[in-house]
């Protein structure tokens, strides 16, 4: 966990005061809605279908138990008793009143949480691997750098009015859980031949109307230079990003139109003006941030404790353990994923009671720390393996032990037509229906890892392009239809899915997905050939045939 100091606290509190003043001016009519809009967006406030929606940042997905309790408090006090965890490592509240927002923010500020730049045409919440700092084989904890980036991009005077939103993601593992290739800037911590730590910098990834996989702009930028290099990219983007057309304003379009070489040359030029300037980091600066990340005092514990052996006979426990428990860098500990995807549930939703209970469990079993992943699940990052059975029993009682993490019913879905004013179609009910269809753990285990992603419109908030199976809501003559893509992935081998054919009506979606899954089961070479790998080998044709032959 990163511990705030007086500087961080001052900035967060001053931001709350500023927003309180802005809300006051809006309510009194001093600010028009047009003037207020960019200001509220920069503080995570959207005007949605039914109400204001409030998006709170969870930088690099790390939360303390006190912070989670405070989120529960906001859900209970100002909203309808639940919150929605999103693919951006944020939490959204859907029913908050404008007049209550400053108070909600002030409450959150007490525990060092804010909503700065969770929306708007500025640098957004920096996301990271939700297993950062605990995954085996990392170069180092990428959150130290994510925090440096968070600070640098927060209320940045030059980049608060960019052509469009701007998103960073960072990882330090070869296996990419942060989806860095679909971000405006993706950063991968690497070590060069001299043993120095630095970054491979990717640029121009993104989803939405024109999806792109990010390209490497520079294979190695030393840690000390990362802020000046990023500043150079942003400066080029700020100056040359298109402002004439909102759909072409993202950096991915600029990179695509110029070509990566030409874009890189522009960045080099801009960098030459500021490299070695005040943005250069030195060891003291980096150390200061690193020193404020507090790590648990792990014990020496056995890898196979008696408690685990005793629980092994319980099939329900074992089913959960098989997909919710991952190896930890520290022997005797595990990383545990809490599924927010119960059969028939809205992906990512958690009630205030669940949040409070998870905070208590984190205190008891995970050194008071929780993570939020972009798959819309929660994680307890430091659980002693001997505690797994007890933890499981507690989670089971809370409805948070659905044994489906990474499986077909671990669906990512945007809010869609249930909340979102931009939606063409519903997302949540599709997710709910699919999660019921694939609720049988044995069938799910047979299918293996398979990611379904659903978006209610072309904006792609549910990452549908990079779902192994992507479902995109479109509208035809006032009715909801869905385009299906297959073969997408968001990891280190990121790819965009391929459309399998004409869009299908709402009522057919679940059947079509079942057909695709059945086709896979009959076509795969071995039981451990993943769905995406089978699609890669076979192309879309056999799946297309299966789906459309009878329709």
């Amino acid at each position: 966990m990163y511990a705030y100091d007086d500087i961080d606290r001052a900035i967060v509190h001053e931001r709350v005061d500023e927003f309180r003043d802005q809300v006051r001016r809006r309510l009194s009519g001093e600010l028009t809605e047009d003037e207020f809009k960019p200001l509220r967006l920069m503080n995570g406030v959207y005007l949605q279908l039914h109400a204001y929606m409030f998006r709170v940042a969870i930088p690099y997905g790390t939360l303390s138990s006190d912070q989670l309790r405070k989120l529960a408090h906001v859900a209970r006090t100002y909203d309808r008793g639940y919150g929605h965890f999103t693919t951006r490592q944020n939490i959204q509240f859907n029913w908050i009143a404008l007049k209550d927002l400053p108070d909600a923010l002030a409450d959150l500020a007490e525990v060092g949480i804010h909503a700065m730049q969770t929306s708007g045409n500025c640098t957004r919440n920096v996301t990271a691997d939700q297993w950062a700092g605990v995954a085996p084989g990392e170069i180092e904890d990428p959150r130290v750098w994510a925090e440096i980036l968070r600070q640098h991009t927060a209320l940045h005077p030059e980049f608060s009015f960019l052509p469009r939103k701007f998103k960073f993601a960072i990882t330090a593992s070869d296996h990419d859980r942060a989806a860095i290739k679909i971000h405006d800037i993706g950063l991968k911590l690497v070590r060069n031949d001299a043993g120095d730590t630095g970054f491979e910098v990717l640029v121009g990834g993104g989803l939405g109307r024109s999806p792109f996989i990010g390209r490497t702009i520079k294979p190695f930028v030393a840690g000390r230079d990362i802020l000046s290099y990023i500043e150079a990219i942003l400066r080029v983007y700020n100056q040359y990003g298109r402002r004439d057309n909102i759909y072409k304003a993202r950096i991915k379009i600029l990179v695509h139109e110029l070509g990566i070489e030409k874009f890189a040359a522009e960045v080099e030029q801009a960098w030459s003006e500021i490299a070695d300037g005040p943005l250069t980091l030195d060891d003291e600066m980096i150390e200061d941030i690193r020193s404020r990340f507090v790590y648990p005092a792990y014990e020496e514990l056995p890898a196979e404790p008696d408690e685990l052996r005793a629980a092994a006979g319980d099939a329900r426990f074992e089913a959960w353990r098989a997909n919710s428990v991952a190896p930890h860098r520290q022997d005797g500990y595990a990383i545990v994923t809490l599924s927010l995807k119960p059969a028939g549930g809205a992906p990512g939703d958690a009630t205030a009671e669940q949040m409070d209970a998870v905070a208590d469990l984190a205190d008891k079993y995970s050194f008071g720390e929780i993570r939020v992943g972009h798959e819309q699940n929660l994680v307890l990052p430091h659980v002693a393996r001997r505690d797994l059975p007890a933890l499981w029993a507690a989670l089971d009682g809370l409805g948070l032990a659905t044994p489906n993490v990474g499986l077909v019913s671990d669906i990512i879905a945007c809010p869609g037509l249930d909340y979102c004013s931009l939606a063409n179609a519903r997302s949540i009910p599709i997710a709910q229906e699919l999660s019921r269809r694939f609720a049988n753990p044995d069938t799910a285990a047979l299918i293996g890892r398979l990611h379904i992603n659903i978006s209610g419109c072309i904006n792609a908030c549910g990452h549908h392009h990079v779902g192994h199976i992507g479902i995109l809501g479109v509208e035809k003559n006032g009715e909801e239809f869905y385009q299906i893509t297959i073969g997408g992935r968001a990891d280190e081998g990121a790819e965009l899915g391929v459309l399998i054919g004409p869009a299908v009506p709402y009522g057919d979606v679940a059947d079509v997905i079942e057909d695709i899954v059945e086709a896979y089961l009959s076509l795969r070479q071995r039981p451990d050939e993943l769905f995406v790998d089978a699609v890669k080998r076979l192309g879309v044709e056999p799946f297309k045939e299966r789906v459309y032959a009878t329709r």
């Binding site: 100091d5 001052a10 900035i11 001093e30 640098h152 030059e158 960019l162 400066r235 005040p278």
Partner: protein, 169 residues
């Protein structure tokens, strides 16, 4: 529109002169970039203060040869959501060392004052009267900043580094 310069509401000493109008023999004038670039050397050699309105889609590096002879550069915010002039300002001040008046014009509202000042603007052509009067309040809201800019304010990283070194010695 009220002009706020170095924190005070002041009268504008510069007269804006249209491209097709004659330049007065004396007095401070503000002209377009196109007019300036058509004959920069003789304009810059004029005996009274000269200001240029620089559009936000043109590279400020073009102004480099004349920076020490320009009394005012006015950068433009056509809408306040268009932040190009923020980058232009920082390049002029921090990289090219421009020391004359740097003025923000267009949609200049209270909620960007802090940003503008941090980026090196010392004069703001403010859109709303009430905002101009709120200048002090608006620019003193924040006591700490995360980023180093050319405004002389220490960034959080620099402050902490200093504390770190002080406590270590």
């Amino acid at each position: 529109m009220p002009l706020v310069k170095n924190g005070q509401i002041v009268a504008d000493e510069f007269a804006a002169v249209a491209d097709d109008a004659e330049l007065p023999a004396a007095g401070s004038v503000l002209i377009s970039a196109a007019r300036f670039l058509a004959d920069p050397d003789s304009l810059a050699a004029r005996n009274s203060p000269l200001g240029v309105i620089w559009p936000n889609n043109r590279d400020v590096a073009e102004l480099k040869p004349w920076l020490d002879r320009l009394a005012l550069i006015a950068l433009v915010f056509p809408t306040y959501k268009d932040g190009r002039a923020h980058s232009q300002a920082r390049r002029l001040r921090e990289i090219y060392g421009y020391r004359g008046e740097l003025r923000a014009t267009g949609q200049v509202l209270r909620d960007q004052f802090t940003f503008l000042v941090r980026n090196g603007f010392d004069a703001l052509d403010v859109r709303k009267e009430a905002d101009a009067h709120a200048f002090g309040e608006a620019t003193h809201r924040y006591t700490e900043f995360y980023q180093p800019t050319g405004d002389g304010h220490r960034s959080a990283l620099q402050l902490r580094r200093q504390r770190h070194l002080t406590s270590a010695s």
